[in-house]
């Protein structure tokens, strides 16, 4: 899987639509070309070696590390939002007050686990 496929799958657990993949690569080449070679290499290493890229991104975002990886996740979010088939990932168009609160509670728990995992990956690979 290339990086666009990996990020999209980590976020949506689905295969990335082709036009989104093309847009991602074009935008990334325009926006991120000024990152140093070191930054590009550490990011590439993450995509090559890490299975749970979502956990690594979270730890990196919170710790202020791997800026290119973090930016690529944000780029994917921006681009994904434009597709009508993704609307349910972004928009809550029905009242789900009870369910919503439960989901947020469990999302918090899941994120704690992801964070710990991400920190371990970060230490293993980048220290």
């Amino acid at each position: 899987m290339d990086e666009a496929e990996q990020i999209y799958y980590a976020l949506f657990k689905e295969e990335i639509p082709l036009k989104l993949k093309n847009r991602f690569h074009e935008a990334a080449s325009r926006l991120f070309s000024s990152y140093s070679q070191d930054r590009k290499e550490e990011c590439q290493k993450a995509f090559n070696e890490v299975k749970d890229i979502e956990a690594l991104e979270m730890a990196a975002r919170v710790q202020g590390k791997l800026p290119l990886l973090v930016s690529k996740f944000r780029l994917m979010i921006y681009l994904s939002e434009t597709l009508p088939q993704n609307k349910n990932h972004f928009l809550n168009l029905q009242d789900k007050k009870f369910k919503g609160k439960i989901i947020i509670f469990f999302s918090g728990l899941r994120s704690v686990i992801k964070y710990i995992k991400g920190i371990l990956i970060l230490k293993k690979i980048y220290v």
Partner: protein, 524 residues
């Protein structure tokens, strides 16, 4: 010169007085793109929104590029890009701890404003050589032109009474909850100097001058020149159509020289760089606080003087309303200011907050603001965001807190800002007040707005009772040492109140225009 709010207000007043002014402007117009003209969320259900939300040149992703200048979100959206287009070419700047936003668009930065229109009271005009009563008559005329919605409520002592308002906009569910709780605890909140009420907005709720009322389409971030939200372009278009204004588009004014009969204005055609000179009886500078100052410094060939540049310091508070978590996203809300508040205390002075609904911007903008893992942040966007509002709390700005602006020999403006230190204890106090209204937040989530991003600039050429140097103006806006040059924009405000100054700047521009007109008539 300049077609922003002040230039347009001056042009309108000249036209009212039977004089046809000539307005020189770069005047960049919005791109001719297909607009959705329907509710944002109805559109998003059906269409690929790449062109609308990202742009064919990936404009909306500007802030992700590590080398790019950070812009307020609204100015990054594809159809709003024209507002700041070419500003670095026409007005190059070197900034330090200040992020200047400039516009050379027709109508200026007001093409993306929040449309807040607030009168200055005598309290805010304390260091001005004018009084509230000097501006009062012009507010009424501006209301006729723009159309203002709102109501007289607890904020009237701070915003001024206006009996000619259109009904206020419909409140969002979040804002309704906040104001209901405020009503219940009003007396105790008022005792500590806290007041909440409806904003005064140049947004129509009823048809006016051929413009439509607000349709609650959530397009505020996505579409320029929405008919219900006033921008100076509407007035310019009308004045040109009625032959009450000569609008010369595509000219960048470079300098001027006073002559026996008036002023020679030296401009450049932006397309061809050809030099052109216009002759006029009186030159009215309305290029904005930064570019009017640039012109004056350039005219004086002064590469040493540092002028004060004011901008309202501001804090951004995110507030969550727990009962709205998991609630339906309001797809038919007004996507800008829902409520205003005033916090008037001895300890912190007079502060004003604008409580904003978050229904218009892209959801992706908020991804980085939540601290969870990617998939969980998406859940936060979906279920948590509908219960979130943001308050922008503005502080007044005086010469002691301002940035400095100087011109260097290469023609670049150098702007040096200073990190604003906010009063200790204030954030906790504000959070406590909002808790009483059922809105919760935490101190670490409060963000300092970057210096320059309030986009309320002023103070570079202040009006004072007795001008003492060539960068002062008289109370009538006349630039010291120049007999036929007047300044009408925010430059001449010696202080900025803790609110959007646009309405007061426009009223003041009209006041100065009346003075110019009577001077011209006397000389005839």
């Amino acid at each position: 010169m300049g077609s922003g709010t002040s230039g347009t207000a001056a042009a309108l007043r000249f036209a009212d007085q039977g004089i046809t002014p000539c307005l020189l402007d770069v005047g960049i117009k919005p791109p001719q793109k297909k607009n959705p003209f329907m509710n944002l969320y109805a559109y998003r259900k059906k269409k690929d929104c790449f062109s609308l939300m990202i742009g064919d040149e990936f404009e909306a992703l500007n802030n992700l590029g590590p080398q790019n200048k950070l812009l307020p979100i609204k100015l990054t959206t594809p159809q709003m890009g024209y507002i700041t287009a070419h500003s670095e070419d026409y007005s190059p700047v070197e900034e330090e701890n200040f992020s200047l936003i400039q516009s050379f668009a027709q109508g200026g930065l007001a093409n993306a404003w929040g449309a807040g229109v607030y009168q200055y009271t005598d309290k805010e005009l304390g260091k001005f050589p004018i009084k509230e009563s000097d501006l009062k008559p012009y507010y009424h005329r501006l209301n006729q032109e723009m159309g203002i919605s709102g109501c007289n409520d607890d904020l009237t002592p701070y915003f001024g009474r206006d009996d000619d308002l259109q009904p206020p906009l419909r409140l969002s569910s979040n804002a309704s909850l906040i104001i209901k709780k405020y009503q219940r605890k009003k007396s105790s909140l008022n005792q500590i100097g806290f007041f909440l009420g409806r904003p005064r907005l140049a947004v129509l709720t009823q048809e006016k001058n051929g413009r439509n009322p607000c349709r609650y389409l959530n397009l505020e971030f996505w579409q320029p020149l929405i008919s219900s939200i006033y921008t100076p372009s509407f007035t310019l278009k009308r004045l040109v159509k009625q032959k009450k204004l000569m609008y010369k588009k595509g000219f960048l004014v470079k300098s001027w020289s006073e002559q026996k009969q008036g002023v020679a204005v030296h401009a450049e055609k932006v397309r061809t760089k050809e030099r052109v000179t216009f002759f006029c009886k009186t030159l009215v500078l309305a290029a904005g606080a930064v570019n009017s100052a640039r012109l004056v410094l350039s005219k004086r060939k002064d590469y040493h003087t540092k002028l004060v540049l004011l901008d309202n310091p501001a804090l951004q508070f995110p507030f969550v309303l727990p009962s709205r978590i998991g609630g339906r996203l309001e797809t038919d809300a007004f996507g800008l200011t829902q409520l205003n508040c005033i916090y008037d205390s001895k300890a912190y002075g007079l502060l004003q907050g604008s409580i904003l609904e978050l229904t218009s911007p892209a959801r992706a903008v908020f991804f980085g603001n939540f601290p969870l893992a990617g998939r969980d942040n998406l859940k936060m966007i979906r279920y948590f965001l509908p219960g979130l509002v943001v308050m922008q709390l503005f502080f007044s700005a005086g010469p002691r807190q301002g940035a400095f602006l100087a011109l260097n020999q290469n023609g670049k403006l150098e702007i040096k800002g200073d990190s604003k230190h906010f009063p200790p204890g204030l954030i906790k106090k504000v959070l406590k007040i909002f808790r009483k209204m059922g809105a919760y937040s935490l101190s670490p989530l409060v963000v300092k707005v970057p210096p320059g991003h309030s986009i309320h600039y002023g103070g570079t050429l202040p009006m004072v009772c007795s001008p003492q140097n060539e960068y002062n103006c008289t109370p009538q806006g006349q630039l010291y040492g120049e007999s036929c040059v007047f300044v009408v924009d925010g430059s001449i405000f010696p202080e900025l109140g803790a609110k959007n100054s646009t309405f007061a700047v426009m009223a003041n521009a009209m006041r100065i225009t009346d003075h110019i007109v009577s001077r011209l008539r006397k000389n005839q």
